[in-house]
């Protein structure tokens, strides 16, 4: 809001160049042979680019940006820095929704499964928030802890139902984030994530005021309930899309908002683009690492992020302790 123009222009440039470089690397890496120079002469190489590499790269960027924003919004709604959708029950609820969709309407399209997953995620997250707001604000770790337990319970219920229905293999696909199955025609629905991120940016000031708490929000004339509802919709849709298309990717929603907050603070109109760009860059780099580390085999991006994210999270915690 009050950030000077020049540094922000530089930051935009740096973010743009960085993301473009990562995308270029991502487009060049894969088992299939695709020399960049032969793209125009070799129809097969072009085909490979358009059907596999480009969708995969776009999916990683979209999912990364979306998950980081979903984590940010969730932290505002819960007024707690240590929650994120993949651990606090949103992702698990979304998986529950897909499971139900698969059981009851096996022929449903990807879009319909996403809708059901979103509805389930919305219900699951609303319940989490309803409980989280009743916990004493003097004990911030209680909210995070409750989120972990709640996510674990919902996750266990999902596993139980999947086991009963002999669908455990499908469950594995939804709960392990990876991009190797992303092809043209199977990822386009992720663009809805971009719309959800845009919505978050549009209401950035209102979300920042909501982070001051209900009383301060009402005092400033904000419709607090409406903002919370919109935030819930943003979190649920992004989480559901991510689970449906690529599976659960941990830590992005947790570490990225915390990292950005350290330098830029919590004024969303300034921080939100940076959170989205950082999330996109983090997920895409982890996917690239996962593709290279055992080339020509792949390690799922969820596994790579499990390691990288945990390291980043520890760094945030200890860096925080040093500052105080």
């Amino acid at each position: 809001m009050t950030a000077d123009l020049k540094p922000s222009v530089n930051a935009w440039l740096a973010a743009g160049v960085g993301l473009a470089a990562l995308s270029a690397i991502s487009l060049c890496i894969g088992v299939g042979d695709m020399p960049p120079t032969g793209l125009w002469s070799d129809p097969q190489a072009l085909q490979l680019l358009l059907v596999s590499r480009l969708p995969r790269t776009l999916a990683a960027l979209l999912a990364g940006a979306g998950l980081a924003i979903a984590g940010l919004v969730m932290q505002i709604l819960a007024r707690n820095r240590f929650v994120e959708p993949t651990t606090a029950g949103t992702g698990q609820s979304a998986a529950f929704g897909i499971l139900i969709a698969t059981l009851l309407f096996p022929s449903a399209s990807l879009a319909w499964k996403t809708v059901l997953a979103s509805v389930a995620a919305l219900a699951g997250t609303s319940l989490f928030l309803a409980v989280a707001h009743r916990l004493p604000p003097t004990q911030p770790f209680l909210v995070a802890l409750f989120g972990l337990v709640y996510g674990g319970v919902v996750g266990a219920a999902v596993t139980f139902v999947a086991w009963q229905a002999d669908l455990l293999q499908f469950l594995e696909i939804w709960t392990t984030g990876e991009f190797s199955g992303v092809l043209r025609g199977r990822y386009e629905i992720l663009w809805v994530t971009a719309a959800a991120v845009a919505l978050a940016w549009w209401i950035a000031d209102r979300l920042t005021i909501a982070s001051l708490g209900r009383d301060a929000s009402v005092g400033l004339g904000l419709n607090y309930r409406r903002v919370v509802q919109l935030g819930l919709v943003i979190v649920s849709i992004i989480s559901a899309l991510s689970v449906v298309v690529v599976g659960m990717i941990p830590f992005v929603g947790l570490v990225v908002p915390n990292l950005v907050s350290r330098s830029l603070g919590d004024n969303l109109s300034a921080a939100l683009p940076r959170v989205a760009a950082t999330g996109a860059a983090l997920v895409l780099s982890c996917d690239i690492v996962g593709r290279l580390i055992r080339y020509p085999y792949e390690i799922p991006v969820g596994t790579v992020l499990g390691v990288v994210g945990a390291g980043l999270f520890l760094w945030i915690l200890f860096g925080r302790a040093q500052r105080v």
Partner: protein, 252 residues
């Protein structure tokens, strides 16, 4: 004018407020005093529509607080809560700037910027303007919150124990700023105070509450009397006079 008619509030079986009637004309500084749990904060949050009205009526400047659009009310009345703990990492200037939100919906123009700068200057926050709130002391943060409340630029300001965390210098300075807002801008200020001696010097009127009722109401010299204070606070308190104002020896 703030009109409070027959307002009662219950929380489960506890009666927080009982048949409160109070009319505060436009302009003037009113201090709310009383022991803990008297209902002062509840009354303030009902006037500021932070809680739903259970019974009775409250109007601010003729606007019924339960039916007027919240945004319109936010341009008429500002409230600073006592426990306004801000967990967000905002810069002081950003926080104060959100005081303009009811007027600009988030688009800050030059007029807003001038008002923000004025509020920062008024509360000597310029050197902290670009620091994050969580790097400030409790008193500096409290001043930032007060500055935001001033910056909202409303005709009515409600402040719940604004002197919390402030040292003597800034406590006195805040009371003088409130006085100036009343005298120079004809604003109406209601402030919950625990230090009755601040009320004695700066308030036009003192309303004393106890157990959810108003038990005394009048000019400082009429309320800050040993018999009234003993009734409100439950122990014998001596009152002398310093510089022509009542001086309550509540600590002896």
């Amino acid at each position: 004018m703030i009109e409070i008619e027959q307002v009662s509030l219950r929380y489960r079986d506890a009666k927080i407020l009982q048949d409160v009637n109070l009319t505060l004309p436009k302009g003037g500084l009113t201090a709310l005093i009383g022991p803990n749990g008297a209902g002062k904060s509840s009354l303030l949050s009902l006037i500021a529509r932070l809680q739903p009205l259970q019974s009775g009526r409250i109007r601010v400047d003729g606007l019924p607080v339960d039916t007027t659009p919240s945004r319109q009310l936010a341009r008429t009345l500002a409230i600073l809560r006592q426990d306004a703990g801000v967990a967000s990492r905002l810069r002081v200037r950003e926080l104060v700037g959100f005081g303009r939100f009811p007027h600009n919906g988030g688009r800050i123009d030059d007029a807003d910027r001038a008002l923000i700068d004025k509020a920062l200057r008024q509360f000597e926050l310029e050197e902290f303007a670009d620091r994050f709130l969580d790097t400030l002391s409790g008193g500096q943060r409290q001043r930032a919150l007060v500055a935001m409340t001033f910056c909202q630029g409303t005709g009515y300001m409600l402040l719940d124990e604004p002197l919390n965390n402030l040292d003597m210098f800034f406590a006195r300075q805040l009371m003088r700023h409130l006085r100036a807002a009343v005298e120079q801008q004809n604003r109406t200020v209601i402030v919950v105070l625990h230090d009755v001696n601040h009320a004695a010097v700066y308030a036009d009127r003192i309303v004393a509450m106890k157990a959810g009722r108003i038990v005394a109401d009048g000019a400082p010299a009429d309320v800050l009397r040993p018999d009234v204070l003993a009734d409100v606070f439950g122990y014998a308190i001596e009152v002398t006079e310093v510089a022509g104002k009542p001086f309550v020896l509540h600590h002896l």
